[in-house]
Symmetry: C2
Subunit: 723 residues, 2 copies
Amino acid sequence: MSIQPYPTSSWGHGRIAIDRSNSDESSLPEFEAFDSVTPRAPTTQTISVLGVDMHAADNKRLHNTSKYKNSNLIVRRNNEFFITISFNKPFNNQQDNVQIELLIGSSPDVNKGTYIILSIGIEKITGGWKSRVVEARGNNVTVGITPDASCIIGRFRTFVVIVSDFGKQRTQRNPDTDFYVLFNPWDPADQVYMPRETDRQEYVMNDVGVIYNGEFNNITTRSWNFGQFEEGVLDACLLALDAGKVPILYRGNAIEIVRQGSALMNSQDDDGVLVGNWSGDYSIGTAPTAWTGSPEILLKYARESCVPVCFAQCWVFAGVLNTFMRCLGIPARVITNYCSAHDNTGNLKTDIVLDEDGKVDRSRTRDSVWNYHCWNEVYMKRLDLPEKFSGWQVVDCTPQEISDGLYRCGPTSVNAIKEGELSYPFDAKFVFAELNSDVIYRQSDKYGNSKIISVDTAYVGKLIVTKRVNSNAYEDITSTYKYPEGSDKDKQTMQNAERRGVPTRDYLPVAEAGVDIELQADTIKIGDNFKLKMNIKNQTSQTCTVSATLTGSAMYYTGVTSMTFKLENKTAMVKPWNTTNLMVDVQAVDYMPYLVDQANLLFVVNGRIEETGVSLSTMRVVTLRPPELTIKVSGTPRVGKDLLVIISFRNPHNFILKKVQLRLDAPGLITTRMKSYEQILPGGSVQYTETITPQTPGKKVLIGCLDCAALRQVTNQLEINVV
Amino acid sequence: MSIQPYPTSSWGHGRIAIDRSNSDESSLPEFEAFDSVTPRAPTTQTISVLGVDMHAADNKRLHNTSKYKNSNLIVRRNNEFFITISFNKPFNNQQDNVQIELLIGSSPDVNKGTYIILSIGIEKITGGWKSRVVEARGNNVTVGITPDASCIIGRFRTFVVIVSDFGKQRTQRNPDTDFYVLFNPWDPADQVYMPRETDRQEYVMNDVGVIYNGEFNNITTRSWNFGQFEEGVLDACLLALDAGKVPILYRGNAIEIVRQGSALMNSQDDDGVLVGNWSGDYSIGTAPTAWTGSPEILLKYARESCVPVCFAQCWVFAGVLNTFMRCLGIPARVITNYCSAHDNTGNLKTDIVLDEDGKVDRSRTRDSVWNYHCWNEVYMKRLDLPEKFSGWQVVDCTPQEISDGLYRCGPTSVNAIKEGELSYPFDAKFVFAELNSDVIYRQSDKYGNSKIISVDTAYVGKLIVTKRVNSNAYEDITSTYKYPEGSDKDKQTMQNAERRGVPTRDYLPVAEAGVDIELQADTIKIGDNFKLKMNIKNQTSQTCTVSATLTGSAMYYTGVTSMTFKLENKTAMVKPWNTTNLMVDVQAVDYMPYLVDQANLLFVVNGRIEETGVSLSTMRVVTLRPPELTIKVSGTPRVGKDLLVIISFRNPHNFILKKVQLRLDAPGLITTRMKSYEQILPGGSVQYTETITPQTPGKKVLIGCLDCAALRQVTNQLEINVV
């Protein structure tokens, strides 16, 4: 029963006008005559509006939004804010009919929550929004407005309307009276309510964090400037939603914001914020390893009219998505999973194919095990699911697989993953596979026939970590995702998963060798020669002769190998109940020419027990440690006083570092600074000095990052306390 | 551990090569040398292939695919088919290493099921496909091949490969050996297994059906040519998947085919098959009411390089989606829901807004109740859901609302809808609202304040029907979707739905009037004057005075009204426990100028009881019956003998019918014939004669349809038995 045409051929033209941009506006007439009345201007006796004061500073204090560097009012849902309207004469409740109109998008509609009409003096609830007169003094009336607990988030426009018998007289459009509504983790009625203040301070209010990478034996840390309060970041986040054409109507639902946000942070399919690149060649953009935080990226995206920013890998995606969530008021954190399977076919099997000689057959190995993978968790009530699946939800914006047409993943309940309850939206099976895949070593002959030679059920999803609340140490949250490997509960989870369409583990149990191979290495610096220890443990009562092939390759953190630099055969005779340690020498001259990105080496060993013909396989990633970047400050940091920051670096290698980028980031102190060096000679040093004048007291973090093609991710951070 | 680059910026360029077209091919070398061997041609002693016979006719009989008008082999999953390879000499199991390669798409990959390698003589299972030598006679070997029960569906290419020590010698590309693999409802291992043969004959094999429309008091019938076996239709269905870029990898999963199919039958977002149009102006295309079946539409789409076909409404969408499903082997049927809510905000409330005078306020009424709405059901195991949610699934390709970014809906389990279990994918809440919304009558004043005046909880989802198996009568399947209104189970369902995020019914119970208004009408022909009976039933012990406002509008079947042609006030005094019948005269001269599409009139009555001030509302749709189209044949229809079909029509109206289209469709006899008439004068007649020569015996249906702007959907059908 509507007179609008039905959608005929494209988005947004339709019976259901689909409004997909918070930047677009409709213009409302300043005078709107009522039907069947000859329009004429209101008489002079009528009350009129002289001004509207949004009380931005005062309201922001009440709404935990003072930290946003934005001159407009920012409020949170279901929390009252106050505005004062100045009239030309005292407001008379009996005579004057005054309405406040709050609008969002270009086709505001009372039925859709995009057009809120509140009457002053009449306590009335419209679409869940409440208003009341708090004070009337002289010609001024102060009104308290409480947004609905599930209202649309974004930038609203404010109008005041005088209603007479002839029509409506509206105030002029004034951007100063625009205000933003955000999710409210402080309010029990909000979908993203988070009960503890310490949690909210970390997961919503903390604008700097730590992301873990490296490998699970050697976890490394990098600080990240989330910068959700930096000038322009909130507008950039809303712009990303507009660029992704997310209907305004859906923007009150955190599930929708999270799901679409996971699609919009990557450039695949929808010109989202970041272009993923794992090729090793980042020359036409910024290397993923070179960034120090999100604001630089989001502001570049907004400044350049939504052209995707080059380049990102998983921790950059996760860092920026974290900013997006916290900025809009959704509690969020960055997670690292060691090691993370990327299983092409969703069959919970990650195949490593070896050739007849036991070498890794790079052309036949399609799946990969990421050394680590970063994703995010967001905290919310899942109103669409049974109650036990509320709480932390996985969301992953790194473009890995298509979910229902777009590159996106989640939100999916962490509790559901743990129980193997994979039927519920969204993408639970993919996340489950990242955490629970088995590594299958297959040997293949030249005709393409392959057989399984060994299976490792514990390699993937060994350790899942996130930054601890109010600390930079990591918290092991593996137990929130998984029951202990092999426990009854774990078996129950695997059975549930199979009942929900995860393929059963259909390979036969591999013959028990009774012999184990293990690879060990210490912490090693880039450029060092080192020894890799191969321990062969014979747990049988027979002597065994093991002939082993070790393949050493340079590897991206995604498990994709670039070059094989070492191939060595070793044979050992191991006595019953004994362990033999073989040493493999690894020389810098061998690996240095092939190092890529984060300087990972992958060693795969394939052994054969001569006496029984049984095969053994294992693999080990060694992450080499880069040279140090030092950050120092001069004297005690004080508010209003100049502080000197000195970053220095010495090239310890015997090769020239070319086109070096050095970044200094200091959330709450300065915006990201970048300095380029054409080259740094072998043994040469650079020193970069910046003067900062702190404006507010408290703990701050200085983040430094040096990056060039030959040496990635040389990072450091320094915490300072401004007094 | 792959050497391909990771996806960098767009679909399909990526580490995970995403192959989205069955039409694209890779070319394979005719000779492929093994690594580390100097390539040279095979020696003359080697066996070579002279030809491959796909035994299309014989295999098709075994696979229930003989009806497809397609010269290539068409098989179903997990059912063996036989091909014969002719060699230049007898095949020697010990000496000769011969492989059959089956490929689909442009980047065939053994790990993805897009590249099947079967060895002759070695009984081996590759990716679930099986092969065995059935017979070796002379130089010929007949091989039995059984596709995996969950393999990819589509068009495969066949190669035979001779493997020598030097490399692989491959047969040339030959389109004659291409074959199609379809879903297999006959096989218990297939996801779409349907146990009963009578059901399979109806829901997979029946190529003509009946779609119900009209209104629930006056159900009308139109035959529809599904034509899934017609020449070119299978290719058109696969082309639609290609046009929609559905990854080949996903095409073995019926859930994915159904979900993407529901997006691809409409042109919104993805240039799918049909353009929806409910405007009343279809002059630049074919009116939705003028079509007689799917083949004409699908073949036009394919012929015109995937330019969307103009125009469709719900039954056309449902008819074409039904063809798509049955053609690919997924059991499917067309459903009609009387009346169907289209609730803009997903809140289970459909608002009818009346103005101060009790007239329908067309500008404020945003939701609508469709007189009827057609969707489809498909039958499948939902491996992703708990077992009880397998069986019939709702899928709807009429573009109504966006689901996860695209216009699509489903599949969603009918059982889950019935239980109010709305957490499971896909779009259960939307379907639930179509069936269970309440109609809320609101009265609104000019300031925009509105109050609820009455609620009808039973108007929507009253009756759900589909064609009965092996009959043209309808089957009432309401009980598969809903428990009886008001039963304990029904209440439980509503509670479950609320727990899954459906908003609670938050309006207060409306004061019980004790007085009912009902509207009644007989079956009425277009152009007739008629009487509408308004029955006012007083079930109280007080006399009541009812003043009622009746609004009569011409209406599209979507509930969208075009013009108000009648507005009448009536007053009646009704004695206690008595019924008063008021008659309202409706004159043809009043409604004829405004009739649209399927000639529906909507009457809404709003009454007020003077004594108590209580309001009453009700509405009633009257579908006017069009003049008759007659279809006759000459003599007894016999195979091979000319049969004369005569369609005639007389214009009974006093106005000229302009630009008249007349269609004759006869599935299995002829392709759709269309005849145009510039005009038919008042009282004038047309007669159209077509000569048909039946090729096969059995029951056939002749479908006729006459359509023009002033008179829509004049249809008839005649069943004949060819002997």
